[in-house]
Amino acid sequence: MKVNGFLKDVTGASRVTKARRSLIQHGDPNNIYRDPIRETAKELHPEKTDVMITKIEEVSPTAKKYTLKAINGDILPPFKAGQYCSLDLKIGDTITTRPYSICSAPFQARSADPFFELTIRQGKPNEGFVSNWLYDNAKEGDTFTAHLPFGEFCFEPLRDSKNVVALAGGSGITPFYSMAKEIENGTLDIQLTILYGSVSTKDIILEKQLKAIQSDKVKFINVISGEEDYEGEKGFLTKDIIQKYSAEDCSYFICGPLPMYHFVRTQLEEMKVPQRRIRMEIFGAPRDITKADGWPEGFNPAPVKLTVLRGIQEDVIEANPLEPLTVALERAGIPNNSRCRSGACGFCRCKLLSGNVFVPEEGDGRRWADKKYSYYHACSTYPLSDCKIKIIIK
């Protein structure tokens, strides 16, 4: 390249060239690199946080609350009540991750003795394989690599009403416990009414803990569907019950299993609650993908071949059309950037180079152009034929 020397002798231009030379000549010759904004960004979004279980408490006959502290010099980042943490796990030859809502309050993670808590429920025998494993095996002193905080399921003062109605089911109670604790601490200024739907009283998680922090700002109501003689709110989280506990112009925060979410959503629609007053959090892929809208009828879900490209390395593994690509990768021990495992966050974005796949509409958090150019979120993508994908080198 020949750089044009045209400006050299032209008065005005040479004046600015000289000014610049003088500017640079007066620069500091030492290494004075300092970037406090980068430091703040890293403190808020650490790459990873090594953590250790320091305490385990039973919070229902089928759920345990785990207290975790940062180790190896890592520091817990600030977070907002309702956000989640993703744990890296190794179970046998399978590597995987799981997202869990943080159930402790943000102030506790930044206190003099910082910690955070996760509550994990024992699932039914055929579901929640990882949660079951953790429930049975995790013990004090165990260490994990955690990634936090993630998620948008938080009270946003510029958007949400200060009257928040929480509609919880199962382990979906955990983000609300975090909010309740933060309210009790005086660091979250909202009115929180928790409607907690369970089949039986045995299923209620964190009941003692939530009852202990009830106040004029935190209300906690169990709604039991499977016990005729329960003395309290009975049935599902219907519009009648929701209405009964709603103040004017509430924000509704829904967290629970997919079927409950669908049911509650219909109730809120019947109540004509505007879209901006509904917030939701769903974790996990559908239990049975063949029931999803758009699943090809009569499709024979025989195992397929998945060619995985990382850099110039190619691996061929087996994949099950009934499981998302993420699971196939994990079974093969190939690390994959999954966080939300619901198709939303996009950390596991990969490129489909060939083959046919299925993405349930509900789990399709992709960008317009990603759809156009065949990029997929591996955690919500099901291989229908032999496929070839390119993923991030981990």
């Binding site: 610049r20 958090g365 960008r367």
Partner: protein
């Protein structure tokens, strides 16, 4: 099996627009190129995000230098040459300026009439009679300078030719926009203010903004208008990434380059956070010189004192603070009738606005973009996509602590929303479906750019493209290493960065040729 080849012809650090543009050019010349991008998406800041199934443009983004298909400007020509296809949508108006303290409320459109006069001159004439001639003359000068700059971008000519053929550029090159406009044009103050609204796209007040840059910006927008991609900025970024890979570029996401390896004053590779050491003789770097010389070069003893002086001397330009909103009604129902509105709550003065950029909030000059008017399909029927932006200096955010971060950003965002609500006479807080607040920390988080900078170094009189050009070849302090982002020659903006990438590629190709000899 390894993930990388033993050696690449060139490694590009950062898969944003400049990096992809550079890689595309190198690959089209048959070079074996590796792009290492730390994020899991291409494009850097030229991106989008999805909230509850709804996609939102990351911030205020317009593509300049495209021009219409039948009358392409240089970026469209470059993208066409590279066969990058993007669904561009023309932005309806150039801008609105709303400055009640100056009694200014005007909408300007890009475009020239067949007789060579400018549409916006007529629009100004309507409110400020008798100014048409001077406005046309100013824009004509801008156009002349613009054409010279473009010509010189691709041609090398003698000094004599330069003086003869590019007199307007030569004459104005040493002066600020304010100096040229004040001394050469007889215009009422209000009209000068109206014609200064674009200052924010460079982040430099008119008193220190070189006229050359002002002229380039004005002419480019007023000739060619501006554009957004149908699929948000992410579409442009993915289209370019796809083209890179088609041309044989190895594009790896999620790979943070920690170190640039140097020996005897020459690069020989990089090391990623994962620990991969990858070799090459040529590196194009998106990280700022401050970061490169301050902590990436290994060993640090290879950094010459002059390189440190260079990086330390140039003041950082602006960073970004944006509030991105999805609202629950149609724009008209929220009294939003325009695509682009610059607003001032004090008498319009770019020096004052710029100084306000040092403080945290209390910003009087806001840019409000309603994307619906450029891209009606950007949201579901009955909703509005609105962003409110100010570009503060990094020092505004240097003292914000992590524990105060959420509260601080909400406070500033609320203030910005309240101001726009006041202008509209509609309380936007009652209509928010989704909100994202982007701060300098957000910029740093996603790109790791030095101090969250989005525009490189200040394009002031003593450090603009005009001042930089003469010394460009003296500022390669380490052999084989070239900068490739808005901290380079042409400065900030999406189009400028595509150009910065081309220039970086040209530099590397020249070095490669020299090495062959």
């Amino acid at each position: 099996m390894p993930f990388y080849k033993d050696k690449y012809d060139a490694i590009v650090i950062g898969g944003a627009l400049a990096g992809m543009s550079c890689a595309m050019k190198l690959a089209s010349e048959g070079k074996d190129v590796l792009i290492l991008e730390r994020h899991n998406l291409p494009g850097g800041m030229a991106t989008s995000f999805v909230r509850n199934g709804m996609e939102m443009e990351a911030t205020l983004h317009e593509m300049m230098s495209l021009g219409p298909t039948e009358d392409p400007l240089y970026i469209r020509e470059y993208l066409d040459e590279m066969k990058v296809a993007i669904d561009w949508l023309r932005v309806p108006e150039a801008y609105n300026l709303y400055s009640p303290k100056d009694d200014i409320d005007i909408e300007l459109h890009a475009g020239r009439r067949p007789d060579g006069t400018w549409i916006c001159a007529d629009e100004i004439e309507e409110q400020y009679p008798g100014t048409k001639g001077e406005v046309n003359r100013l824009l004509e000068l801008c156009k002349n300078v613009y054409e010279s700059v473009l010509f010189l971008n691709d041609h090398s000519i003698s000094k004599a030719q330069m003086l003869l053929q590019h007199e307007p550029l030569v004459k104005t090159a040493g002066y600020s926009a304010k100096e040229v406009i004040d001394k050469t044009f007889d215009l009422p103050l209000a009209v000068k203010k109206i014609l200064s609204a674009y200052w924010i796209y460079v982040g430099q007040p008119l008193s220190t903004l070189p006229f050359t840059i002002y002229a380039f910006l004005m002419a480019d927008y007023m000739i060619g208008g501006s554009y957004v991609a149908r699929g948000f900025s992410h579409e442009m970024s993915v289209a370019m990434a796809e083209k890179c890979e088609e041309l044989g570029v190895q594009f790896e996401y999620g790979q943070n380059v920690d170190k640039i390896l140097v020996k005897d004053g020459k690069v020989y590779g990089v090391r990623t956070s994962r620990g991969d050491e990858i070799h090459t003789d040529y590196i194009a770097s998106a990280p700022y010189p401050n970061t490169v010389y301050g902590k990436m070069i290994e060993p640090q003893s290879e950094v010459p004192a002059q390189a440190r002086k260079y990086a330390n001397a140039m003041p950082m330009s602006v960073t970004n603070f944006s509030v991105v909103l999805l609202l629950d009604q149609k724009p008209e129902d929220l009294n939003i009738h325009d695509y682009s509105v610059f607003s001032s709550d004090i008498p319009f003065d770019t020096d004052v606005f710029w100084k306000e950029g040092r403080q945290l909030g209390g910003w009087d000059y806001l840019t409000t973009i309603c994307l619906n008017y450029a891209n009606p399909d950007c949201v579901k029927e009955g909703m509005t996509s609105l962003s409110i932006t100010f570009l503060p200096l990094p020092e505004s955010f240097m003292d914000v602590k992590a524990d105060d971060y959420f509260a601080v950003k909400n406070k500033v965002a609320k203030e910005m929303i309240d101001r726009v609500s006041d202008h509209l006479g509609v309380n936007l807080l009652d209509h928010i479906v989704e909100i994202e607040i982007e701060t300098p920390v957000t910029m740093s988080h996603y790109t790791s750019d030095y101090r969250g900078g989005i525009y490189g170094y200040q394009q002031s009189m003593d450090n603009s493209v005009v001042a930089r050009l003469e010394d460009i070849e003296k500022e390669f302090y380490i052999k084989g290493l070239v900068g490739c982002a808005s901290h380079q020659l042409v400065g900030d903006g999406m189009a400028c960065n595509i150009n910065n990438g081309r220039i970086a590629a040209r530099t590397i190709l020249t070095w490669m040729k020299e090495a062959e000899k």
